[in-house]
């Protein structure tokens, strides 16, 4: 279980979303409200590491990750206060698969691509070797940690993420389901994930029947959302800004739109397109 945000639009300082809002991502690292445990109680703490990935002056993104909680990390606050980006991801982790170490923090990076994930692939430790054997030979050595999330990303890259993101992610989910079935399990996985090449932002929301639901929201009305008091002027809004989140950055706002189940979202140049997402057997 984890929380994440993704931004695309005119360059803004990262702190506008990561540290400053009333229910910022850093606040969600210690007081999350919309993620549930199997027993129905709320999982408030995402203290097993964090990461940010951002695109500024280079085609490849920068990456800053640590295995500490986000809430008291001075480096994270400093970086977010100084850094402007046109696209950025930020993530706080509650570990389900894989130990608490920097390499297991999200986002994951491959060339100009970033990937981050909230969710779980049930039984991953038993499926890991089978799934990693699917990964392209040239990509495999780049897997550094031992999470279901990172392996999923490299599967998607193997299935053509760079050419056709929707198709590749549908194949990746299909492959995970097949692996669970072949291991004698009922399909049981949940994915609220985002991925970007530094130009377009794609997100995925999918879970098998019975799996714990993962929320996902977006807004094209960022200034109002972040400026809880409601005094932001139109001119202060970043142009063509779209924000996608695990849970809203304020606890009140009506300006967030839930992303439907089994959806694939494409954000490009301020426009949002939502399509059905259907896992493909590989």
């Amino acid at each position: 279980m984890c929380r994440w945000i993704a931004y695309t639009g005119e360059p803004i300082f990262l702190d506008r979303l990561v540290t400053k809002p009333a229910h910022s991502l850093v606040e969600q690292s210690i007081n999350a409200t919309l993620q549930y445990k199997d027993d129905g109680s709320i999982w408030t703490t995402n203290g097993d590491g964090f990461g940010v990935g951002w695109y500024a002056d280079r085609s490849e993104p920068g990456l800053f990750k640590d295995a500490m909680p986000a809430w008291n990390d001075q480096n994270l606050h400093e970086l977010c206060a100084q850094t402007k980006a046109r696209i950025f991801f930020a993530h706080v982790r509650a570990s389900t698969q894989g130990g608490v170490q920097r390499n297991n923090s999200h986002p994951f990076k491959y060339k100009n691509w970033l990937f981050q994930h909230n969710g779980d692939v049930e039984g991953f430790s038993k499926l890991k070797r089978t799934l990693q054997n699917e990964v392209d030979e040239d990509l495999y050595p780049m897997i550094r940690g031992n999470t279901d999330s990172e392996t999923s990303f490299y599967l998607a890259l193997t299935y053509g993420l760079q050419e056709n993101p929707k198709h590749a992610l549908e194949k990746m989910i299909g492959r995970l389901i097949r692996a669970q079935e072949e291991a004698g399990m009922n399909p049981d996985l949940s994915f609220s994930a985002s991925v970007t090449d530094g130009e377009n932002l794609y997100t995925l929301r999918y879970f098998t029947p019975g799996a714990t639901m993962r929320t996902q929201f977006y807004t094209q009305d960022m200034a109002r959302v972040v400026d809880v008091g409601g005094t932001a002027k139109k001119s202060e809004w970043p142009d063509k800004a779209v924000v996608v989140v695990s849970e809203p950055l304020d606890r009140l706002s009506d300006y967030w739109t839930p992303v439907p189940e089994a959806s694939f979202m494409t954000v490009r140049n301020g426009a949002v397109k939502i399509e059905p997402f259907t896992p493909q057997r590989v």
Copy 2:
């Protein structure tokens, strides 16, 4: 805000209290139930570091501290599973004063003494220099971090902790109150602390009117408490065992006795003595 436990009795493995009980100290690092914020809500997370201090084959205790959360720390689990001690302290931290760094984790050690604290000295950053100027010249260079807790320990040492613990702690609290008054504040501090020389265990519970209450409990019936199922045999109980905690290690048990407000407790050879605690002006 923090949680701690203190044990004295026949040597036991640390894991019996720190990691194994249903509501062990490590469980309290992520799901504490009895500490309150100023708004009355519960402060569940103590993820800003941890520490254990233990007495085994030497007169000076061992100390293992880190600035990471306790809940996923493999080193802590390993150490507690291997180490037996006749007296030990363990602490999980939620920082109020002083940054998240190893030197600020409790317990604090001076020669054969250990000290740990749950509570707060309001306005400490403004009082720090005045208070540190009170500390004995030979002791001052040993202060390594910047918490109110560590400075309080060194004040108590300055006031004769090694000769008369109760008296020294009463002077220490009195001095903190005077410093607050002289800075134009109302007295506002809370202390649930324990201290030991490796032979005797002393605890203190005190808070000024209006300060957030800190709970403290003890038991002389350890086996029943830890063995929630109730199958422990008398012969498995460690002899002369006394456990003092911030909150009980199970959520059910009737075997815990609350320590009254404004109390000083001495535990020696399995016997418990509780006396009134009255701050002394210095």
Copy 3:
């Protein structure tokens, strides 16, 4: 490149070998003298993490590992000053394969077994998947990091380390060499490793022609070695003590015996047996 020590004998405090000698393992973490770079200069620094594993009151060993340098780690000093063990391993790391993270620090543990390694398997990142596919299905999920060393340990376990250590290690080295050959490389690996089940200590020294040499020494005359001044009395010596090291714990002593190339050493009850080590094709 790394440095390690292994001890077996009457229980002693770990500090007698890890922190106190003139050229202790901790001193070797910053001032190693006997490891060479390819250009012939000396590789002095082993600052990419450390670990100790020790057998005390349980059949399974305790494990304490971190990704920080050993030389300033207060926890390591405290643990070694308090802990007595009848067998212990200690290791300081200079990373060659695999990132600097706690899971990649040595020793590695499986049930009652410990393993630690100084050396390198050239081209491991390209061989990793092939080699991990050899690992037994039940063992594979326990691999936590991404070093050549840990994979080698799990290969040896797969080949029967628990039944016949010498045979299993010979197969492991043979399998590594075959993997290099099948990838079109010349065999290029170096191993100075130790392994124990908590009763017997086994070490291995082997390197292919042209690989950088790794030193290994042992002594049965521990007190004289550690007590550089030469004042230790016979009665202070731990009984049946044998120490194996990457480099001597003093820089002067004549009391260390080099382990020959291509050797397998068994230490049991104070006695040392050295046999030729011959890689076996698998």
Copy 4:
């Protein structure tokens, strides 16, 4: 003992000085060549933490510090590859006074000011309280660590660093010397330090007779220095660039000018002014 660099000029990516040159600052963290121990041997390792401070779009600088070695820190490499700055400081630490913790890593920041130091104030732990009592009441609470360097910075701020840097630094050194004398010591301190307000760069090189010398060099010919192969074109050079370092970023170049002993240097708009530095009694 430590190594540092300071840059001022047209904005450049930090990696051009911190990670890319043959003898970059990161390389100096493990293979420094120009710092000596008291016995005349070379102190090669600066592995007790690192930090960078940079001025980009805000008047206050960003700060990124850690207590790990720089040589393998992926975050540092990422940050330096992505971040452009018109002024930046970078520092690798070998601890002399104060523990290895993030708060003790350089640079230190106060409002728009940065400070970093290579050197030592002998006997600081005994002088610390006296010196900290000199620090202005409003500044004192901002001291977070326990190094001689940070206290020196706050002393300089107390003596008017923001109004007259040279004068304030001369008073600071004078005050340190007086403290040593009053404690019955011979004056024994060494300072190679840099300080900036985000507009001007000031450096100081001073040591008392008998103290270990600290080197300091500068260049106004940056491109040739960094581009060891000598193929950089004039047009690629950042305008008005000045670099000051503890030791040159290549091991060959003739393009570095040693800063004389007892000097105060001011760098403004590409111009360098060097004045005598004379400690003032306070």
